[in-house]
Amino acid sequence: MNTLLEQLKNKRLIWQGSQQEQSFTGNSTGYAELDEALQGGFPQSGVIDIHSPIGIGELRLLLPALRYRQQDKRLLVFIAAPMQINGEMLAEFGIALEQVLIVQPNSAEHALWSAEQCLKSGCCDSVLLWHQQLEIAQAKRLQLAAEQGDALHVVLRQNRQLSLSLPVNLAMKLNPHAQGLEVQITKRKGGWPAHSFNVNMSKAWPELTLNQPTDNVVSFPRAKVS
């Protein structure tokens, strides 16, 4: 019995809970709520799959982490962005524009190809790809390429329909919220899905959040004078 187990283990056919790497170190995302939910932050390399409508703050959620990753002087690549990337906003946030590369391929196929090339080249630290439909095999390839080049790959998708669970490090679903974003982590390597939570952006971008209903208003005591 034991030898059979040994054999299966050697062939990597069985998976044991104790094999899971426990020493997970993440880079801070810049948001305390998200860091807590991710137990440290975004992974150093791998694929992050984000389902989000466009223009609700999905890029702002990533920017602090992207800025931090630029420290080792590698490239930040935007592939197939739905609109023109505004360099002024990136520069204002402190991202070095000379390390930003913008790729606008003609087709989704070429976009995937460029993402893979950028990831495995080793000279990009983060690659953002706007892509609609990702298949399992493609996600796997991107994952391997990201690990090979020690890069973080973020796939941003807009379609709302639920797709298959992909072999990625982290999958998140974003929804708009008055004070920032409502984040639901649907998949995390080495973790369990958790309830959705809110990320408060009112500190970093006070102009891009709705005013919180102030809760320090105490109703004026009505003293009855008799």
Binding site: P53, I54, G55, I56, G57, E58, L59, R60, R74, L75, A81, P82, M83, Q84, I85, N86, G87, E88, M89, L90, A91, E92, A96, L97, E98, Q99, V100, L101, I102, V103, Q104, P105, N106, H110, W113, S114, Q117, C118, K120, S121, G122, C123, C124, Q148, G149, D150, N175, P176, H177, E207, L208, L210
Partner: protein, 484 residues
């Protein structure tokens, strides 16, 4: 030091320089010079004026075809005969290619177009420790080409040439033997013109030895001065001036194909041969190039040019091959290709990139290599970098440029609260939004006749998206960006 010359005669250089585009026949390339020609079809090269066979391959010889036969006889002997017309410029190009390669081991090379090379070797012997060592080094260089050659040494250029053209195939510095060998050659094989040979034959002189036996003075009296000069140069008594070959500084190589190619996939094999030659050329000179140019000669069509660029200078054949494959994907051939040519643009000296040994990246490409790769596949306009111009107008701030070398741009004053995505053209606002922040008036640009006067607002629509909208002077509302 006794002068010694070596002559290499290539009897069918055009036939040998035809490239076989089929990789499987490539396997035999190292089996020696004579083994590789084993094409199934017999092939002859025909002189276009005299219409007789000049060069032929093994299959044609087996079929009974001989040099000097007319086309009719040859065609009658083999019905599947392939016929090519003789072109001396192909031979000449190949000859220069061989000379360039031999230049790596020997210094003084003189071209005898279209199919001979003369080497001055007595000044090289010290370096190689004698004739044997020299010939071994030279032979190794020659074996890199799949060409047939005859060779011979001689005490003078003409002597070496005469012996090589009559296929003596020996290297020696023993003067009596050389003199004897020259002596027994027929006059018809020499450089002398037909008329002189006939004239000499009439007085009973048939071989060189007969002629040498006569005193020079008598020969001069009886015959013209050219014969005297020839004899003097043959024996090595007269000085024979030579122009020696200087290698080119630019790479240019032409490859004629044995079969016409109409698919881009098959084209890659001959291209790789050219790239390998390029690699060798650049490696020896320690050079890099940023651009290579393939010229594809099409049948009955204008030739195609295929330019492959690499932002980082490269010399390695496999790196160029990868980029070329990507370029070939986008290429459509209108007609079959019969020949290829590869040239390089400017070359530069190689200066290795200095990188930290401990902080080296795990990847395989450098920044510039990645950009070249993307540009080769997607086209140059697909890759850009964003630069900022010092302007208040939102549509003038961003400038999308070709990726350049890393250099920090000049710092400009950037405005706070700008959207991350901009629409190329502002769109009329069509949905209901709530204005959260604003206005910010931008009224500028009076100096270049593109003035704008706009009040910008940050607004949120019902889907929770943050828009950057503005009201023009005409009171119309437009959306201009998204705060993503």
């Amino acid at each position: 030091m006794q002068p010694l010359w070596l002559y290499l005669h290539f009897p069918h250089l055009q036939l040998d320089s035809l490239c076989d585009a089929m990789p499987q026949s490539h396997a035999k390339e190292h089996d020696g010079v004579s083994a590789h020609i084993n094409h199934q079809h017999s092939l002859v090269i025909l002189h276009h004026k005299t219409n007789c066979v000049l060069q032929l391959n093994q299959a044609a010889t087996d079929a009974g075809i001989r040099i000097g036969m007319g086309l009719g006889t040859a065609a009658a002997l083999d019905q599947h005969l392939q016929v090519l017309s003789y072109k001396s410029d192909i031979e000449q190009k190949k000859l220069i290619e061989i000379a360039e390669h031999l230049y790596l081991v020997t210094s003084d090379i003189s071209l005898f177009p279209p199919n001979g090379l003369l080497l001055r070797i007595h000044n090289m012997l010290m370096l190689y420790g004698g004739l044997k060592g020299y010939w071994r080094a030279l032979k190794a260089q020659l074996n890199d080409f799949q060409v047939h050659y005859y060779y011979a040494s001689g005490q003078s250029p003409y002597a070496a040439r005469l012996l090589a053209r009559t296929a003596w195939n020996q290297i020696s510095d023993h003067l009596p033997m050389l003199l004897h060998q020259i002596g027994i050659r027929q006059l018809v094989d020499s450089e002398l013109d037909r008329k002189t040979v006939d004239k000499l034959a009439r007085v009973g002189i048939h071989c060189i030895a007969d002629l040498m036996a006569l005193p020079l003075k008598d020969v001069a009296k009886r015959f013209d001065i050219d014969l005297v000069t020839y004899l003097g140069r043959l024996s090595g008594e007269f000085h024979h001036p030579m122009d020696f070959y200087h290698p080119q500084s630019k790479f240019q190589r032409y490859l004629e194909l044995l079969y016409e190619i109409s698919h881009t996939d098959t084209l890659m094999f001959p291209m790789q041969q050219l790239l390998a030659a390029l690699e060798q050329f650049l490696k020896i000179r320690d050079l890099l190039t940023q651009k290579i140019i393939f010229t594809l000669y099409q049948r009955d069509q204008e030739s195609l040019t295929l330019e492959v660029g690499s932002a980082q200078g490269e010399y390695q054949a496999n790196k160029w091959a990868n980029l070329t494959v990507l370029k070939l994907d986008n290429l459509t051939l209108k007609a079959p290709i019969f020949a290829l040519e590869l040239t390089t643009a400017e070359t530069q000296l190689r200066s290795p990139e200095k990188t930290d040994l401990f902080n080296a990246s795990k990847g395989t490409l450098s920044y510039l290599q990645l950009i070249s790769l993307l540009q080769a596949k997607l086209g140059e306009q697909a890759i850009s970098q964003v630069m900022l111009d010092d302007d208040f107008r939102p549509n003038k701030v961003n400038r999308y440029v070709q990726p350049q070398l890393k250099s920090a741009p000049k710092p400009i004053l950037v405005q706070p609260l700008r959207p991350s995505f901009m629409l190329k053209m502002p769109q009329p606002l069509t949905e209901k939004v709530t204005v959260i922040h604003g206005p910010e008036r931008i009224s500028t640009g009076w100096w270049d006749s593109q003035p704008i006067t706009r009040d910008y607002f940050i607004a949120r629509n019902q889907h929770g998206q943050w828009l950057w909208i503005y009201r023009a002077a005409s009171k119309q509302w437009f959306a201009h960006g998204l705060f993503s």
